[in-house]
């Protein structure tokens, strides 16, 4: 640790490059906290967006209009509006309504900024996942479903054991693209003061006046984050590969 700090100190003294998170414990703690918040935002949003996508795609394939119609509206709404506007809508419009009275008689938000970010991002990516899964589901041959029907599987069992595993494999490439986008979109949470990576970096550069350095660090950190996700997705794709099967 000491050599690392010495290196960054030397960098500052010799060349004036101020990567403060390299030698300033306070800045480093702030930055790592931001990184951790971004990771939590990403992981939670990925999980919930996948759940939203699976349920949405199942409902979209329903023969009941009462299930299909709300999903259609939901997908249209979240696909055709900017994610930043969605986030603002949740935080400022809904957030200002959903408030509780505190013990001291004051008013406090019921849902934290972090939770609003997770909700908003999950629904945004979930709407796209719904479409991605739907196209995957439609690519599963109807004849395979007839076979499972003739073996006595119910529609739900067929969905669970046959459609979903195949649709997932078909959807994986586009799903990966969307999840990578989701990780990058977590930076929007900055706008509602969630102390994620961009927020932490901005705090640091406004104090230390090292915008150039922190911008570079920030970009490299996102590249690293996305690289980890891409690696995990690649492993997943490999694990799901079926010998002798096209996708």
């Amino acid at each position: 640790m000491e050599t690392v700090e010495t290196f960054f100190q030397w960098l500052r003294q010799s060349y004036g490059i101020k990567i403060t998170i390299g030698y300033d414990a306070w800045d480093r703690a702030q930055f790592l906290a931001g990184l951790w918040t971004t990771v939590k935002l990403s992981v939670l949003s990925i999980i919930f967006s996948l759940i939203v996508g699976v349920i949405g795609a199942f409902a979209q394939g329903s023969k009941y209009l009462i299930l299909r119609a709300p999903i259609g509206i939901f997908v249209t709404f979240f696909r055709n509006t900017p994610p930043l506007v969605q986030l603002y809508f949740f935080f400022f419009a809904l957030g200002s309504v959903l408030r509780v009275t505190t013990e001291t008689g004051g008013s406090a938000p019921m849902v934290s900024a972090f939770s609003w970010a997770v909700i908003s991002l999950s629904l945004f990516a979930g709407a796209l996942n719904t479409e991605i899964f739907r196209s995957g589901i439609e690519a599963v041959p109807k004849s395979t479903l007839e076979a499972s029907e003739s073996l006595g599987f119910t529609r739900f069992q067929t969905y669970l054991y046959v459609v979903l595993p195949l649709a997932l494999r078909i959807s994986l490439p586009s799903l990966g693209t969307n999840l990578v986008n989701l990780v990058k979109t977590t930076s929007l949470a900055y706008a509602i003061a969630v102390p994620e990576l961009l927020y932490a970096a901005a705090q640091i550069w406004s104090e230390q006046l090292n915008v150039r350095e922190m911008m570079t660090v920030l970009l490299l950190t996102y590249i690293l984050l996305v690289a980890v996700l891409v690696w995990i997705l690649g492993r997943w794709e490999k694990a799901l590969r079926i010998p002798g099967y096209g996708v």
Partner: protein
Amino acid sequence: MAMTDVKWTADQPIVSLKDVRKSYGSVPVLNGISLDIMKGEVICIIGPSGSGKSTLIRCINALNDIQGGSILVEGLEVHDPKLDKLALRKKVGMVFQQYNLFPHKTALQNVMMAPVKVLKENPAEVEKRARELIRKVRLEGKENSYPGELSGGQQQRVAIARSLAMRPDIMLFDEVTAALDPETVKEVLVTIKDLAAEGMTCILVTHEMGFAREVADHIYFTDKGVIVEHGPPAGFFANPTDPRTRQFLSQVL
């Protein structure tokens, strides 16, 4: 119509079709088909393409609905809206032209899946039975292969084993050799012949005339949604009476 509670006994037809009518939109496909099949019988349905053979066989296990008439399977009224579909599917197994195996499951898993998930049977017992069935269709050693790693004929035999794992009383074969290479057709036909010899009730839609002659107890010739002619294979192939049958047989034999 409410005949679902009728008790079926083995001296009655196991499958009984009465004046079955079906159309796709305004296009009539089945124009009043009646036939009775007794337990243990093997029947082949032949006829030109578009004559409604596949539709007919699919109606028997309710993959297609009908607009008129009735289909009884062991006393179950197949197209009664109150029918317990699972009760029907336990009695009737079906094999398709395109095999339709689950591509993400191994041969063994394909065979095991329905008894375990649908019938909720003990997986260890099902596995024992599944391995026996795979041996029976002569695919020993291929238990852990995925469908994509098997030839068409091998996949089709896995599909037969998968159907048999549900212990059906009746097997439906819908042009099961039509998509196969000529050299693999035989291995599938041998498997079906074994089944027939064991007394399984089989309904086959087929273009394999030689096989139909050899294995069937009764041949039905359909054209334009009606049964034109039927009879035991010997007489049917030697002395067809209807000009349409004669024309068809002269084209395929």
